[in-house]
C-alpha cells in the first residue's frame, strides 16, 4: 500500500492539520516508508506463535479511585471550532 499526495492532503484535512504541497510530499514519502516497514513485518510467518500483548514482562500500574481532575472546559473549548452551551458542535451525524 502506498499513498498519493492527494491522500496525504485529505488525511491532513480530516485531522485539521494545515499542510502545504512541499510538506505533503515530504509526509508522503515518510508515511510510505512506514507502510513498507509494515509490509516487511507482515511477510513474517507467525503461524503457531502465541500473541503478545506487550513487549515487556511488566504489568499495568493502577491508580486509586479518586477524583483528581478539575473543570477546564473553557480552556479546551477555546480551540474548538464551534461550541454552544458548553457543548462541542459537530456536523450532524445520525446513524
Amino acid at each position: 500500500m502506498s499513498l498519493s499526495p492527494d491522500d496525504v492532503k485529505r488525511i491532513a484535512r480530516l485531522a485539521r492539520i494545515e499542510i502545504d504541497d512541499s510538506q505533503a510530499l515530504a509526509s508522503q514519502s515518510q508515511l510510505n516508508t512506514i507502510f513498507d516497514l509494515i509490509a516487511t513485518m507482515q511477510a513474517v510467518d507467525t503461524q503457531g506463535i502465541a500473541p503478545m500483548a506487550h513487549a515487556q514482562e511488566v504489568y499495568q500500574r493502577l491508580r486509586a479511585d479518586s477524583v483528581t481532575e478539575t473543570d477546564h472546559h473553557a480552556a479546551f473549548q477555546a480551540i474548538a471550532p464551534a461550541v454552544e452551551n458548553g457543548l462541542y458542535l459537530v456536523p450532524k451525524v445520525i446513524e
Binding site: P51, Y59, Q60, R63, D65, V67, T68, G86, Y88
Partner: protein, 481 residues
C-alpha cells in the same frame, strides 16, 4: 410450524466508581456539559490512560459473585470506530483476554399461569471492562450535533450471556436478577433512567427441534425491563412472520422505538464495522494478585441466592417469597431486621410484600425511604401475634406509623385500637346485636348460612372493629345454638 425463540443478552453496567476508568475525572451524573471531561477524556494529543483500581475491583467482585473464572492476566484492546462522541477514534475495551469468563446466574421465572415459578440457570460467556462514550445531542440544534463528553471514559462492565434464554419472560427475569446482583454487591447503582444499566438483546428463532441457531438480529440499548420485553416480543413475531411468508432473516442491528412498539433496522451485516481490534499499546496487561482477590472475596456481602435459602430455612417463607424479599439488598435487610425483631418471619413477609410495598409504591418511595422502620414493623407484627391487634386494627396502627404518630404501643393507646379481650363486654355487644337483628337470627336458624356472616359484620361494626373476629365467631355460634 412451531418456533423456538433463542435470546442472549449483553448488558452494559456503569461501574459505581468515583472517577473514570482511565482518568481522574468525576463520574457524577448530571453535571453541566463537558465540565467532567479532562484532557484524557477528550483525547488531547500526548495524554496516557492510567487504569482505575476501583473499576478492576468491581469486575473482581462480579466474577466472585457468579462463580466465574478471573483471568489473572487480562488485556485491554482498542476497538476502532469513528463517531464524534468517541474522541480518540477508538474505545478501550477487552476482546481476546477479558477479565471475567464463564460463571452462572440462577433465578426464578414467574409462571405465566397460576403454576409455581420455575428456576433457571443461565451460563455467562464473559464480562469485560471498557470505557463508555460521550453523548450526542441531535435534537437541540439545527443541522449540527452537540457533544457532551462527561460520560466519555465512565467505566463499564459489559456482561455477556450465552444464548440460553427461550422467551422474553426469561430474558426479563435474567436481566432483573443481574440488576439485583450488580446493585447488591455495590458495583453499579442500577439507575436505568440514567443509563447505568443498558441491555442489548440478540434474538433469533428456529423451528422446534432444529439444532442450529437461526440468524440473529441485535436490539440495541434497551433501558427498561418493559421495553426489553416489548422489543423481544415484537422482534420474535416479526421474524416468525417473515420466515413464514417465505422471507429470510438478515443479520442486523435494530433499534426499538417505544412510541410505536416496533423494532427498525439500524444497519445490516454488510455495513457492520470492522473494529480492527488490537492490544492497546498505551496500557500494559493487568495482573490480579491472589491477595487482592481474597481480600475482595472476604468483603463480599451474603449473596441473594444464599440469602433466599436462609430465609426459607430460618423464617419458613416460600421460595417465591424469598425471591421477592431479596429483590434488593435494602429490602432483604429490612425484612430480616423486622423478622428478627418479632420472630414472625412469615407474617412479616406478608406485611412487607403487602401493605408496606403497596403503600411505598403509592407514595413512589423505595424501601430505604420508608417512614415505617423495620423495628416498628417488627413491633407491629408482634402485637398482631400476641392478640393485641387484629389484622384490621393493625392496618390502622400502620397508618399511624406511616404518618409518624409515634411508636406502635403509643399509637394503640392514643387511638384506642386495642383489640377487645374482655369477653363480658363482647357478650353484651353480641346480645344487643342479636336483639336488634331478630330477622337475621331467624333466617340463620332456618338454615341461611349467609345470615350468620351478616351478624358477625354487625358485631364487628358495633365493637368499632376492635372485637377479635375469631372470638366473635365462637361466641356467636354458642349463643345461636
Amino acid at each position: 410450524m412451531k418456533w423456538e425463540t433463542v435470546i442472549g443478552l449483553e448488558v452494559h453496567t456503569q461501574l459505581a466508581t468515583q472517577s473514570k476508568i482511565f482518568s481522574g475525572s468525576s463520574t457524577a451524573f448530571g453535571a453541566s456539559p463537558n465540565t467532567q471531561a479532562s484532557a484524557v477524556d477528550i483525547a488531547l494529543p500526548g495524554v496516557l490512560p492510567v487504569l482505575n483500581k476501583g473499576a478492576v475491583e468491581c469486575a473482581i467482585k462480579f466474577a466472585l459473585a457468579i462463580g466465574a473464572t478471573l483471568n489473572r492476566i487480562n488485556v485491554f484492546d482498542r476497538k476502532n470506530y469513528f463517531y464524534p462522541d468517541l474522541p480518540k477514534g477508538y474505545q478501550i475495551s477487552q476482546l481476546a483476554k477479558p477479565i471475567v469468563e464463564g460463571g452462572v446466574l440462577t433465578f426464578l421465572v414467574p409462571s405465566t399461569g397460576s403454576g409455581q415459578p420455575e428456576e433457571r440457570v443461565i451460563n455467562l460467556t464473559r464480562a469485560h471492562m471498557e470505557e463508555d462514550a460521550g453523548k450526542s445531542l441531535h435534537e437541540d440544534f439545527q443541522g449540527v450535533t452537540g457533544i457532551d463528553l462527561n460520560r466519555a471514559g465512565t467505566p463499564l462492565l459489559e456482561i455477556v450471556s450465552e444464548p440460553e434464554m427461550r422467551s422474553s419472560a426469561e430474558a426479563v427475569a435474567y436481566a432483573r436478577a443481574l440488576h439485583t446482583l450488580v446493585t447488591w454487591i455495590g458495583i453499579c447503582d442500577g439507575n436505568m433512567q440514567e443509563g447505568s444499566f443498558r441491555v442489548d438483546a440478540n434474538v433469533s428463532v428456529r423451528p422446534v427441534g432444529q439444532a442450529e441457531f437461526g440468524t440473529r438480529r441485535e436490539i440495541k440499548n434497551l433501558n427498561s425491563f418493559r421495553f426489553l420485553q416489548q422489543a423481544i416480543d415484537y422482534e420474535v413475531r416479526w421474524q416468525i412472520e417473515t420466515l413464514e411468508d417465505g422471507g429470510r432473516i438478515e443479520q442486523a442491528t435494530v433499534l426499538f422505538d417505544p412510541d410505536t412498539g416496533e423494532t427498525r433496522m439500524m444497519r445490516s451485516k454488510e455495513d457492520a464495522h470492522d473494529y480492527r481490534y488490537f492490544p492497546d499499546p498505551d496500557l500494559l496487561p493487568v495482573k490480579l494478585d491472589e491477595d487482592w482477590i481474597e481480600s475482595v472475596r472476604a468483603a463480599l456481602p451474603e449473596l441473594p441466592a444464599a440469602m433466599q435459602l436462609r430465609f426459607q430455612n430460618d423464617f419458613g417463607v416460600s421460595a417465591y417469597d424469598a425471591g421477592l424479599l431479596t429483590g434488593s439488598r435494602a429490602l432483604a435487610e429490612y425484612f430480616e431486621a423486622a423478622a428478627r425483631a418479632c420472630g414472625q418471619g412469615k407474617l412479616v413477609a406478608n406485611w412487607v410484600m403487602g401493605e408496606l410495598s403497596a403503600t411505598l409504591n403509592k407514595a413512589e418511595l423505595d424501601i430505604m425511604q420508608s417512614p415505617v422502620s423495620s423495628r416498628q414493623l417488627g413491633a407491629l407484627v408482634a402485637r398482631i401475634q400476641d392478640g393485641t391487634l387484629s389484622g384490621k386494627l393493625a392496618k390502622q396502627v400502620f397508618e399511624g406509623l406511616w404518618e409518624g404518630a409515634g411508636e406502635v404501643d403509643a399509637i394503640i393507646e392514643a387511638r384506642g385500637l386495642k383489640q377487645m379481650s374482655d369477653s363480658g363486654e363482647l357478650e353484651k355487644i353480641i346480645d344487643d346485636v342479636l336483639a336488634a337483628n331478630q330477622k337475621s337470627v331467624e333466617e340463620f336458624r332456618s338454615g341461611k348460612e349467609k345470615a350468620f356472616n351478616a351478624l358477625i359484620g354487625q358485631v364487628m361494626k358495633a365493637s368499632k372493629g376492635k372485637a377479635n373476629p375469631a372470638q366473635v365467631n365462637d361466641l356467636l355460634k354458642a349463643k345461636l345454638q
